[in-house]
């Protein structure tokens, strides 16, 4: 079966500093991959590269077997296949929840306002935020904002979801409500790449865990292998620090 996403020998540097070095990654349809590793290890950069938000230096990224890094490829067509959710929510503050969610369906996918509204309402009801439909983002809690950001991405009916440390900016008691949304997506069979610091969550939800260190994929494997029996010294060290911090 063609992988949903295939990253080969990807290199990315910012002003001479290499952030990602020879990264290879394969994500099968309906697979959930968690990227773990300390801040600055390149998790976010990889997700943004896949979403074509930042250009890559070398290597290739294939979606459904088709290269998306070719300059002749229309990045907007690629992005329509995937949704990305950011650490800082990045909701549009001048728009209501409804407008945030319906913007792309209406403007990019050409769906009528009525249909887009209907879909927004369905999503909000499914995730228990129907009463917030006409609120502005600054009247919502962080957890609610992040859930709306996920719905905004889902409203474009993506085949792949990218999550960039979506709970890192949240108060601890709001983390669960966001993670539960992602668990729900897994049950529906969504293909996902999740950069996260929530190790317990990664162990639960991932089919495959990748440990990044200094821009390199140091270790990749099933959650049980990575968390239970890590091979690399750096992985052990990283996990030990997480355990010491009481986060695993």
């Amino acid at each position: 079966m063609t992988p949903k996403i295939e990253v080969t020998d990807l290199v990315k540097s910012f002003e001479g500093k290499i952030v990602l070095r020879d990264v290879d990654l394969e994500v099968a349809p309906h697979e959930v991959v968690c990227l773990i590793g300390s801040s600055g290890s390149g998790k976010s950069t990889l997700l943004k590269c896949i979403n074509l938000l930042i250009p890559i230096d070398e290597g290739d990224i294939l979606v459904d077997g088709v290269s998306i890094t070719d300059p002749m490829v229309n990045p907007n067509a690629i992005r329509q296949k995937m949704g990305i959710v950011f650490q800082a929510f990045n909701l549009f503050p001048h728009m209501t929840v409804r407008q945030n969610i319906t913007l792309s369906p209406m403007r990019v996918h050409g769906i009528s306002k009525r249909e887009a509204d209907e879909r927004a309402r369905e999503l909000l009801e499914r995730f228990g935020l129907a009463d917030k439909i006409d609120e502005y983002p600054d009247r919502l809690s962080g957890g609610q904002q992040q859930r709306v950001a996920i719905m905004r991405a889902l409203a474009t009916t993506p085949e792949l979801m990218l999550f960039d440390e979506v709970t890192s900016a949240l108060d601890p008691e709001l983390v669960a409500e966001v993670l539960n949304v992602i668990r729900g997506l897994k049950e529906e069979g969504m293909t996902m790449i999740i950069a996260t610091h929530e190790m317990g969550f990664a162990r639960d939800v991932a089919d495959k865990v990748c440990f990044l260190d200094g821009g390199v994929f140091l270790e990749t494997g099933a959650p049980a292998e990575i968390f239970g029996d890590p091979k690399e010294a750096r992985t052990k060290q990283f996990l030990q620090r997480i355990i010491d911090a009481g986060r695993l």
């Binding site: 992005r79 001048h94 996918h109």
Partner: protein, 289 residues
């Protein structure tokens, strides 16, 4: 970023915060003191001016009641043209400048020629004194006797104002666009919006909100600069006053014109302050979002 708890709703903090009684009394006392000292200072200045030796002569030349009444309708009539020019020019400036700023914000090598064109235009126009541009277009273009374009000096005078002010205003918009965080653009692009859509729906609406005080400042400036077209002979307020002065050698009509300009500009200045204050309060009440 701070995240408000679930129960925060409505215009929080600020409106619910009542001043205690003691503060209100202190406020009233402060107002009385301010009024009292204003009367004293104002009175002293007035006494000093009116009692000066030159005052009767000054009053005769600049504040002559007869000339004031006689020139008022003429200057007011001319001022109507100022207002019309201002209204037309301002609308055009806001649109043209926004288009230029948006072009300048487009990224990617394909848009390089467009960006370069806009940057070159802005540099060029901002380098030319506005009065020179008015003379150049206002006298120059009609003299060409071109077919298919208006040959009115007034038209080209206003066009010069629009061109000049658009260059400055484009830079105001640009500052606004740059003040919107990069992550907003990324969020827009990640949803599949094109560059132009992302500007149109995501960046620009936020940018405009951020620069409204600066735009209003430009309003006030333009309100007075429309008077510059008097050099083309347009019979606006300053020109009417000048005609009156030329026949009477009394300068009161200039004061009449000044009064009209001031009356028109003060409300915009007050509105700017009010708006800026409102935005500041709203920002505080939502905790820095």
């Amino acid at each position: 970023m701070t995240t408000p708890p679930d129960d925060i709703r409505g215009p929080s903090l600020w409106t619910s915060m009542r001043r205690p009684r003691r503060h209100r009394e202190a406020g009233a006392r402060a107002a009385i003191i301010a009024a009292f000292s204003t009367v004293i200072v104002g009175g002293l200045i007035l006494w000093w001016v009116l009692s000066s030796e030159a005052w009767p002569e000054v009053q005769q030349q600049f504040f002559n009641p007869d000339h004031f009444v006689a020139s008022w309708p003429l200057v007011l009539d001319g001022f109507w043209l100022n207002i019309q020019m201002f209204a037309v020019a301002e609308v055009l400036i806001l649109v043209v400048a926004l288009v230029m700023a948006m072009i300048r914000a487009l990224r990617g090598p394909a848009f390089f020629p467009l960006r370069a064109l806009v940057i070159g235009f802005i540099d060029l126009i901002r380098g030319i004194p506005i009065i020179l541009l008015i003379l150049l277009l206002g006298f120059g273009v009609p003299a060409l006797q071109l077919t298919g374009v208006p040959n009115s000096r007034l038209f080209w005078g206003v066009a010069a104002l629009v061109i000049s002010y658009s260059a400055y205003t484009a830079e105001v918009y640009r500052a606004g666009i740059e003040s919107v965080h990069e992550s907003q653009r990324m969020a827009g692009r990640s949803l599949g919006l094109t560059q132009v859509q992302s500007l149109r729906y995501v960046t620009v609406p936020q940018a405009i909100r951020n620069v409204i005080p600066a735009l209003l400042n430009g309003f006030v400036s333009l309100q007075k600069d429309v008077a510059l077209v008097f050099v083309l002979g347009a019979r606006e307020a300053v020109r009417e006053a000048q005609i009156y002065v030329a026949s009477t050698f009394n300068y009161t009509p200039y004061v009449v014109a000044a009064v009209l300009f001031i009356v028109a500009s003060v409300p915009v200045a007050r509105f700017t302050d009010w708006y800026t204050e409102r935005v500041r309060r709203r920002r505080q009440s939502v905790g820095g979002v």
